[in-house]
């Protein structure tokens, strides 16, 4: 008990200390931004203070909130769709060797197809509205998640499968006690990279196809040559992504994969 508490303290201390490292590198980044901005002048690159000031103004005027909400809704809808469909189909493809061999060329095509090409097709199919960004996000994230789920299922240790058969595990138990815990360690990184991808794609799609959202706001600020507002929107975008990743996905990952940390920290 005492030992477990000690382990927990050590792990938390370690995490906080690594937080200091991240803060320091963020500080260096801001310093370089500030220096470059001072050299180039506000028309080319506003300083961090100016960008944050503009962002604050956007929030204060009530302009930022709804746009961020719209963008987040589209990105998350496309992301959720690809998580659902990609994970399920990837798992199914991983179980069967034939299916994974058949899936490989299709996935290569999907990965190789540039998102901007999908965007053009989506514009033709869905027009201006939520359909276009959501579809583009979905189709760009789908192969990443599909491959993650398929690799996870394919790489499952054959020795553990033998254990499962030897001890007469039911299909349900094989799934929940053997397959899923292993697959999750492949799925999570795939989900996280797909989430980052969804945030980039949604803005691109909005820039070209919609009247609202961060992407559309960026298009407006560009046409007004308003660099400060552009930077403010970019900061808002990156900030939202970081918040989702570190406040939602990272804690979830640490919880689901606690066995991995305990195993490595005590050996």
């Amino acid at each position: 008990m005492k030992r477990a508490a000690g382990d927990w303290l050590a792990a938390t201390g370690h995490y906080l200390w690594s937080g200091w490292g991240s803060l320091a590198s963020l500080g260096i980044f801001l310093a370089i931004w500030e220096l470059t901005a001072q050299q180039l002048g506000p028309l080319i690159l506003p300083t961090p203070i100016e960008a944050l000031g503009t962002l604050h103004g956007l929030f204060a005027s009530g302009a930022a909130g709804p746009e961020i909400a719209v963008t987040a809704r589209r990105a998350l809808a496309g992301f959720a769709l690809s998580v659902g469909v990609g994970s399920l189909l990837g798992l199914a493809a991983g179980v069967s060797l034939t299916a994974s061999m058949m899936a490989r060329p299709i996935i290569t095509v999907l990965v190789g197809m540039p998102p901007i090409a999908w965007l053009i097709l989506a514009l033709l199919w869905f027009g201006a509205g939520d359909g276009t960004p959501v579809f583009t996000v979905f189709i760009a994230c789908f192969p990443i998640i599909f491959v993650g789920a398929m690799q996870g299922t394919r790489t499952l240790d054959g020795q553990l499968k033998e254990v499962a058969r030897m001890f007469g595990l039911s299909t349900w138990m094989k799934l929940t006690d053997v397959y899923l815990p292993h697959v999750v360690s492949y799925l999570f990184p795939a989900w996280i990279s797909a989430l980052g991808m969804s945030w980039k794609i949604v803005v691109m799609a909005e820039l070209l196809s919609t009247e609202d959202g961060i992407g559309a706001a960026l298009a407006v600020s560009r046409s007004h040559l308003d660099t400060a507002a552009s930077m403010a929107w970019i900061v808002a975008l990156v900030g939202t992504l970081l918040a989702i990743e570190y406040l939602l996905l990272e804690p979830l990952k640490r919880r689901v994969e606690s066995w991995r940390e305990f195993a490595s920290s005590s050996n």
């Binding site: 553990l160 254990v163 058969r165 007469g168 305990f262 050996n267």
Partner: protein, 231 residues
């Protein structure tokens, strides 16, 4: 790979298959376990609860040790409280502490992992225990301790044992019947019955019998040892 094999394991009997690496011992054991299906021939088993211990512990890394030991019980539909109680009782007899049971297998030493794997096999009260070189990677102190635990559980449940090993001394110590296999194609070349009860086999007896055993022409041929002079 295997040819003309006829192998019977009776109720409560301990049979050891010895032979050189690559002679098909593991294939034969996997056939018996139902992990492989034979191309030709038949396998009939009236054992209701077989269990197997592998050369590596093969614990599920994402389950705590207690849940790993109770895996077979869970598969049999035993409720959580009951299987935790049984698993904990068995684990204590195997020399695992409550602290070990709360850990993930990755945090246990190799010896503790082997104890947990043995406990997992015993947890289902097997009527047939298959051992795939289960003790070959362990140090001699731990080996003899696990031998004693195995003997104790066998005496308690009357489980039959089919073990494969390349350690003759282990076979002499544990088995009622020793079958010698030779390779390509794998076949059984000799059979030897050990009548002394397992409890009566002390160190000196095991050494003497192993020394005698290793002089057999069939054994020397199977392991490709040079023939003894004057034999």
């Amino acid at each position: 790979m295997l040819e003309d094999i006829e192998l019977n394991v009776g109720e409560g009997e301990a049979v050891a298959l010895v032979g050189p690496s690559g002679c098909g011992k593991t294939t034969l054991l996997n056939l018996a376990a139902g992990l492989l299906t034979p191309w030709e021939g038949t396998i009939a088993s009236s054992f209701a609860r077989p269990a197997m211990m592998f050369q590596q512990p093969r614990l599920l890394p994402w389950k705590r040790t207690l849940a790993n030991i109770g895996l077979g019980l869970k598969a049999r539909g035993v409720g959580r409280a009951e299987r935790d109680r049984q698993a904990a009782g068995l684990a204590t007899r195997m020399g695992l502490t409550a602290d070990d049971l709360a850990k993930y297998p990755g945090a246990l030493s190799g010896g503790m992992q082997s104890r947990a794997a043995l406990a997992r096999a015993f947890a289902v009260a097997p009527d047939l225990l298959l051992l795939d070189e289960a003790f070959s990677a362990l140090d001699i102190g731990l080996k003899s301790e696990l031998y004693a635990l195995l003997a104790g559980e066998r005496a308690a449940h009357g489980s039959a044992v089919l073990m494969i090993t390349h350690d003759l001394m282990e076979a002499v110590r544990l088995a009622d019947r020793i079958l010698v296999m030779s390779g390509s194609p794998g076949r059984i070349v000799a059979e030897h019955r050990v009548d002394t009860p397992v409890a009566a086999r002390d160190e000196a007896w095991v050494f003497a019998r192993t020394a005698e055993f290793i002089r057999w022409p069939e054994i020397r041929a199977a392991f490709a040892l040079p023939p003894l002079e004057g034999a």
